[in-house]
Subunit: 329 residues, 2 copies
C-alpha cells in the first residue's frame, strides 16, 4: 500500500480511500491510484483490514454434512446468496448431533474470521436448549423454533398438509405415512402436520412407519405397508423413501397409481423422471437461503437479533404417482 501511494504520489490514506470507494477523492487522483495499484499488483490485506474494521465479510456455516439432499441444496443456496451479498462462506461439518460438537464448531468458526454464523440444525441435539455464546449473530435453518435465534425454514407444516389433503381430496379414506428419523426436526413437523390434517378431515390415523430418509429404509417400510390390505395412499417424508416404497409396492404386484398412490417430499431432480413421475412437495431452497443471508446481514450491520421465524412456502407438484383410489371391492 505504501508502494502504491509512493508510485501514485499520494498518501497511503488516499489509497485507502480509493480502495474503499470513498466519495471525496478527485477523479484524476483516483485514476492515478488505480493504475498504480494495477501496475504493482496490489491486493489489500484482509487481516489488517479486518483488524481495524472488525468485519470480515465472511459467514460461518455449521452443518451435519452434505450427504443428504436437503442439506446439500441448502448449503449450496446459502453459499450463492452470501456471495451475491459480497460474503464468502466458511464451512464446518460436524460429525455428531451433540451440543458439544456444535459448540466446538462454533468456537472454531468464531476464532476464524467470520461475522456471523448460520447453523443448519437438521437434527435434534442431545440437549433441548441450545445456548450459544453471545456476541456473534446467529441464524438457524431447519431448527427448533424454541431457540432464541432467528430461524428460517420451509413451511413443513403446510407442505405436509398440502400433500395429505391432495390425497384425501382424490377420494382416499386415509393416508399412510412413512416418516423420517425421529431426531429430525423437519421429519417431526411433517409427521405432526400429516396427523393433524387427517384428524381435521375426520379420517382414521394409521400407525406411522419410520425410516431414515434413505431409499433402503423406504423399501423396508414399503414392504411392511404392502402386506397390509387397505393401503391406497402413502405419503413418504422424502422422495428417496418414496422411491423405496414405490419399488416395494411394484414388487408386491401393486400398480401405481391404480392400486396405490404414492407421494414424496423434496422434489429431487430425478423425481420427475421416475416411472411413474412422483407427486411431491417442492421446497424453495433458494428463497430460504436468501432469507437466511438477509437476516444475517441485518444482524451484522443493524444490531440485535430480531427473534423472528420466517417460513418459506413450498409447492405441491402433482404428477402421475397419485390418483383416485381403486373402487371398493
Amino acid at each position: 500500500m505504501a508502494d502504491v501511494a509512493a508510485l501514485a504520489g499520494v498518501s497511503s490514506q488516499t489509497v485507502s480511500r480509493v480502495v474503499n470507494n470513498r466519495s471525496n477523492v478527485e477523479e484524476e487522483t483516483r485514476q492515478r491510484v488505480l493504475s498504480a495499484m494495477r501496475m504493482l499488483g496490489y491486493r489489500p490485506n484482509t487481516a489488517a483490514r479486518a483488524l481495524v474494521t472488525g468485519q470480515f465479510r465472511a459467514l460461518g456455516l455449521i452443518s451435519f454434512g452434505l450427504s443428504s439432499f436437503g442439506n446439500a441444496r441448502t448449503v449450496d443456496a446459502v453459499t450463492r446468496a452470501a456471495q451475491r451479498a459480497g460474503y464468502t462462506v466458511n464451512m464446518i461439518a460436524i460429525e455428531s448431533q451433540t451440543e458439544l460438537a456444535v459448540h466446538k464448531a462454533f468456537d472454531q468458526l468464531t476464532m476464524q474470521a467470520v461475522d456471523g454464523i448460520v447453523l443448519i440444525e437438521a437434527q435434534i441435539l442431545d440437549t433441548p436448549a441450545l445456548r450459544l455464546p453471545p456476541g456473534v449473530p446467529v441464524v438457524m435453518a431447519d431448527g427448533d423454533v424454541s431457540h432464541r435465534h432467528p430461524m428460517v425454514d420451509t413451511d413443513q407444516t403446510l407442505g405436509a398438509r398440502l400433500v395429505t389433503r391432495h390425497l384425501l381430496d382424490l377420494g382416499h379414506e386415509t393416508v399412510w405415512h412413512v416418516a423420517g428419523p425421529e431426531d429430525s426436526y423437519a421429519a417431526k413437523r411433517r409427521t405432526e402436520s400429516w396427523h393433524a390434517t387427517l384428524k381435521e378431515a375426520g379420517a382414521a390415523v394409521p400407525g406411522v412407519v419410520f425410516g431414515d430418509w434413505s431409499a433402503a429404509s423406504g423399501y423396508e417400510a414399503g414392504r411392511v405397508l404392502a402386506r397390509r390390505s387397505g393401503v391406497t395412499a402413502v405419503f413418504a417424508a422424502n422422495d428417496q423413501m418414496a422411491l423405496g416404497v414405490m419399488r416395494a409396492m411394484v414388487e408386491a404386484g401393486r400398480r401405481i397409481p391404480d392400486d396405490v398412490s404414492i407421494a414424496g417430499f423434496d422434489d429431487l431432480d430425478e423425481s420427475a423422471y421416475l416411472s411413474p413421475p412422483l407427486t411431491t412437495v417442492r421446497q424453495n431452497f433458494d428463497v430460504v437461503a436468501e432469507r437466511i443471508v438477509s437476516l444475517m446481514i441485518d444482524q451484522i450491520e443493524g444490531g440485535p437479533a430480531p427473534s423472528t421465524t420466517a417460513y418459506v412456502t413450498p409447492e405441491l407438484i402433482v404428477r402421475q404417482s397419485t390418483a383416485a383410489p381403486p373402487p371398493r371391492p
Copy 2:
C-alpha cells in the same frame, strides 16, 4: 489479552506463549493464565494473529456447485479432511465454467483470508490453459493434467477399464457406452478408457451416446439403445444415467440382467437398493480429499508446488445388474 495478562499477573507475551502452546512456560504460570482466560472469556483475535503470522488456517474452495453427487461428496470430504488438519474451508460456487469466473472467485478468495485454494475443476474451461496468479498454493481436483498445479483425482481410467473388462469377461461381444457431458474431464477420461479397453480386447467399438449426468438423459439414451438389436451390455458413465437406462430398457421389455447388463459409476447410496442392485465403480472420495488437503498443507508449510498428479484407486462393485449375455439366437 492485556486484561488476561493483568489478571494473571504476567506480561501479554506470556499469555501469547500459553495460547500458542510454547514449551518454555512454567506449568504453574500456564495454569494461572489459562484460568484467567477462562474467567474473562478471552478469544484470540484471528485478524491480528493472521496479520502477524501471515497464516489463516483456512483453505479456499472453488467449485461448480453442490448439485452433482460427485462434487458434493468431494466438497464434503475436503471439508472434513481440512478440519482434521485444523483448517476451515471457505467456499465459493461459480456459475459458469469460464476462466473469467474462476479468476473472479480466485481473487475473492485471496482477498479473503485463505492460505491456499482447492479448485474442483469438474468442467472444461473455455480456455485450455488456466493461469492463476502466482503466490497462492493451488491444488486441483478432477481437472486437467496439463495444468501446472498438483492434481488429485480418482483413477477414472482404471475405473472405466475395470467395468468394461468385467462386462467383456462375462462374455459380452462388446460394451455400449452412455457418456457424460463432453465438457467434463471425468466423463472424457471414462469414455477414452472404455474405448481403449475395447480396442485392446479386439472388440468392436460402438458409437457413444452422450448424456449430461442426469437420470433423464440416461433414460433418453436408454431408449435409443433399446431400439437397437444386439445391445447386451451398457456402461453408463454415472449411476444416475444408469438408472435412466435401466428404466428405458425395462419399459422396452428387456430384462436386466438376463437380456441386457447395465453398469454405472459412482456408487450412490441408492444404487445398492435398486432392482436389480447396480454394478458400479466406487470412488473413494475420502482418500481423494485427504490427498488434496495434505498436498495443500505441504505447499503452505513446505514451499514450492510439487507438480505431481495423484490418482486414487477406485473399486469395482459387482452386483446383480450384470450377468452373462443371453445365448445367441
